[in-house]
């Protein structure tokens, strides 16, 4: 069991007696910082206390107390427990909090998200536009007094389903009737989106921005919109790229095309009901998503996990990592222009891993396999044999074959070698986690840095490479596959017998009031959940810190000054999945 993030290591109150108080609410931890001193405290935390990685920024709307809270989770890339700082402001519009973008650039998208969904204005943020909701959207959906379209009740289960549940179609509840707020005088027919201009304005050398004075000399810059339907953007991501000839001078990703407000859905659901929804975040790794959510809620509930289930979880998470990285390699080659053959080779091995997921959980991708305290069902004997065969025979051989197939390919090497992705400083500054950070020479892997589950019992190395170029980013996935196989071999040997859940199966779990921040090393980076419970069957606040979304913060830094042809490959390096970016 991972130790709960302790804050006793840092005595922030002694350092800032005037502006910091400890959070004394039962079940809560961390420090409450006055908003006037936030930047000062944050800078000190980064420089004096070496909390160099800003893990997550999010808000909580305490409607009853008439407060809005911004929660920051900080970590050290050298490992160890994290630190939570919070700022509370009165819930009176405009809710204003100083932006931390100058302390950690990784705050960029996360602050924009908090503005978009919670309506918290980050003063000093240079580009505070909506990020997930569409242009012209009125209101902030994660506020507790917001009612969405098709709104029925605040929490599930809905009363209309039983005992008098006569079915009605959701679409009959007209979204335009009374639960969607539209701007005054809104008419769909003559609606003109304003934010398109804002987007182009945010590009560095935008001719709109520099009209008159330097417009002339910057005149040959061209804006290209890549996506939202572009085969290289891995889903519905749109990127406005500003070009000087073929060189990228500035770019801004536009997202939200797949947005479904996972956080709000989560707050409507009971704790258990969220589990299948987490499958749909990073749909390649539903096992890893389940893992993160289960770890978080178990932290809140303070329950142990059955010993056998811990091993099953590790086995599933590592198999998931292998298939994710295989697909990454395949799709990267696809993006580089070699259509299909390598990616289908990768998909073949993935197929076999998905067969295992299907046999244990019932579904290939939407596994919904974890429960609080364990997993749904045991691994059957024949499936266990299948896993052993894969881990001991097939996957090592096929990884070798994949390397033989691609690694020395001159075209591939020419495209990848020496093209800079991120160096360590840039990566940490932009809160990039996962293989991209490790390829830049930072051995930060949560399985080692802040071990959860039973990862502290296995002997494995944190894959790390030092050049930070595309070729290293590519090779590190092979390293990680090999390390995962090492973990799997040990897990399969050590797995004990016994029950697979420490709890009785129950559909309504009791979760005591408090907050928890649980994080796991998903194949894409640090996947974390922030859950606030008030003792009711539904979480009060549920937030997902999605690695793809946060990693995308660095895309502008990565791509500035490179040719547009490399942009596609650089984007592939981040290994984003839109289900997770847009949530």
């Amino acid at each position: 069991m991972a130790a709960p993030a302790s804050t006793s290591t840092v005595d922030l109150v002694a350092r800032f007696p005037d502006s910091v108080t400890a959070d004394a609410r039962p079940g809560f931890s961390g420090f409450i910082v006055k908003k006037e001193n936030l930047v000062e405290v944050a800078t000190a935390l980064r420089d004096e206390f070496s909390f160099d990685l800003l893990s997550s920024v999010t808000g909580v709307d305490y409607l009853a107390e008439n407060k809005m809270e911004v929660v920051y989770h900080l970590h050290r890339t050298t490992g160890g427990p994290g630190l939570v700082i919070k700022t509370q402001v009165d819930r009176v519009d405009p809710v204003e909090v100083p932006s931390l973008i100058n302390v950690w650039a990784g705050a960029d998208f996360q602050e924009r998200e908090a503005w978009d969904l919670m309506g918290i204005k980050f003063v000093g943020h240079p580009d505070l536009r909506r990020i997930l909701m569409w242009e012209g959207f009125e209101g902030h959906p994660l506020r507790k007094d917001y009612k969405e379209a098709f709104y029925e009740e605040d929490v599930k289960p809905y009363k209309s389903r039983w005992p008098e549940g006569n079915h009605t179609y959701a679409e009959f509840k007209n979204p335009y009737r009374d639960n969607v707020k539209l701007p005054e005088g809104f008419s769909l027919d003559n609606y003109q989106p304003q934010t398109e201009d804002q987007l182009y304005f945010s590009l560095e050398k935008s001719s709109i921005k520099h009209e008159g004075d330097r417009g002339q000399e910057l005149g040959d810059h061209m804006v290209v919109n890549m996506g939202p339907h572009h085969p290289s953007t891995h889903g519905v991501l749109r990127v406005a790229v500003e070009l000087n000839g073929e060189t990228i001078t500035s770019l801004k990703p536009v997202m939200g095309y797949l947005h479904r407000n996972h956080d709000k859905i989560g707050e409507r659901n009971t704790f258990l009901q969220i589990m299948p929804y987490t499958d749909r975040l990073d749909y390649f790794n539903s096992m890893a998503n389940n893992f993160g959510y289960a770890v978080t809620v178990e932290k809140l509930m303070k329950i142990p996990v059955a010993e056998r289930a811990e091993y099953i979880r590790v086995i599933m998470a590592e198999l998931s990592r292998i298939q994710n990285h295989l697909v990454f390699i395949g799709m990267l080659i696809n993006d580089l222009g070699s259509m299909y053959t390598p990616s289908l080779y990768a998909f073949e091995e993935r197929e076999l891993i998905l067969d295992i997921f299907e046999a244990v959980s019932g579904a290939r991708m939407m596994c919904n396999y974890f429960r609080f305290g364990g997993v749904v069902r045991d691994i059957p004997e024949d499936v266990m044999q299948k896993i052993k065969d894969l881990v001991h025979e097939r996957l090592p051989a096929k990884t070798d074959e994949m390397e033989r197939f691609l690694n020395e390919n001159e075209v591939l090497v020419a495209r990848l070698k020496g093209v800079h992705v991120l160096n360590a400083e840039e990566a940490i500054h932009h809160s990039v986690t996962g293989p991209c950070l490790r390829a830049a020479g930072v051995p930060y892997d949560l399985r080692r840095a802040d071990p959860y589950s039973v990862y502290d019992r296995f002997d494995f190395d944190v894959a790390v490479r030092y050049n930070g170029d595309m070729y290293d980013n590519y090779l590190i996935r092979f390293d990680e596959i090999r390390q995962s196989l090492r973990i799997l071999e040990q897990a399969l040997k050590q797995i004990p017998g016994g029950p697979i859940n420490s709890q009785k199966p129950q559909y309504q779990v009791r979760v005591p009031a408090g907050e928890a921040y649980g994080r796991v090393e998903s194949p894409k980076g640090e996947l974390a959940y922030y859950v606030v419970s008030n003792g009711k069957p539904n979480p009060y606040r549920y937030h997902v810190r999605a690695p793809s979304f946060v990693n995308l913060t660095a895309v502008e830094t990565m791509c500035k000054g490179v040719k547009i042809a490399d942009f596609v490959a650089l984007l592939a390096m981040l290994d984003i999945v839109m289900g997770e970016v847009d949530r």
Partner: protein, 210 residues
């Protein structure tokens, strides 16, 4: 030598190409069919598969594991004279646990007393909203709702299933999930035996007093 890496890679693909046909030939030599047979499909989905292992859907179908889950159905036991004894007691647990809230149950009330009767009057599942998570089957205390294996339900209009369409016999359930079915039957028999033993014990305990 420049181009060595490419040639090496091409060697891998060439190897795959031959492996496909080598497997075909070796199966043919052994007098077995590699295509359109269960054995052949199972082999192509195993760790020993070499070369191309495409499955020609819909002529061929991958073998579904027992735990495979698609939309739910309601189980009924076949009573005397083809009477459908619905296992569901309309307790509403499935409707409460359903994450997208796609289950709607109408409870029957006794016309004379007005008290609820343990059999649903109607049962709707909006299959277009169902996310196939399997919670309803997992938490049903009566083994009355189970996940199906039949995934080919595409249609031109909305799929809202009512009680009639949801009901499938227990024999069908036993066919698609034999291991689970046997486990549950055993548990039920053990429970009934324990109940009978208890009743007997209490009867024999009561007998001398009378």
């Amino acid at each position: 030598m420049y181009g060595k890496g490419i040639l090496k890679g091409l060697g891998v693909t060439l190897n795959r190409f031959f492996e496909t046909y080598l497997d075909d030939i070796s199966w043919w030599m052994r007098g077995k069919k590699r295509y359109y047979t269960q054995e052949g499909i199972a082999h192509r989905a195993s760790k020993d598969a070499r070369g191309i292992f495409t499955v020609q859907y819909p002529e061929e179908q991958l073998i579904q594991p027992e735990e495979f889950r698609y939309v739910p159905f309601l189980v009924y036991d076949e009573g005397a004279e083809g009477k459908k004894e619905v296992r569901c007691t309309s307790c509403g647990i499935c409707a409460k646990v359903c994450p997208p809230q796609c289950i709607w149950i109408v409870r029957t009330n006794d016309p004379n007393t007005g008290k609820p009767v343990p059999e649903p009057k109607d049962f709707y599942i909006d299959m277009d909203i169902c996310m196939n998570c399997g919670f309803c089957a997992e938490y049903c205390p009566f083994d009355a709702i189970k996940m199906d294996h039949d995934f080919a339900i595409a249609s031109y209009d909305r799929n809202v299933y009512n009680l009639e369409k949801l009901l499938k016999p227990a024999s069908y359930y036993a066919e698609i999930r034999p291991l689970n079915y046997n486990k549950e039957e055993e548990a039920r028999k053990a429970k009934e035996a324990a109940k009978a033993a208890k009743a007997e014990a209490s009867a024999s305990a009561a007998a001398p007093a009378a």
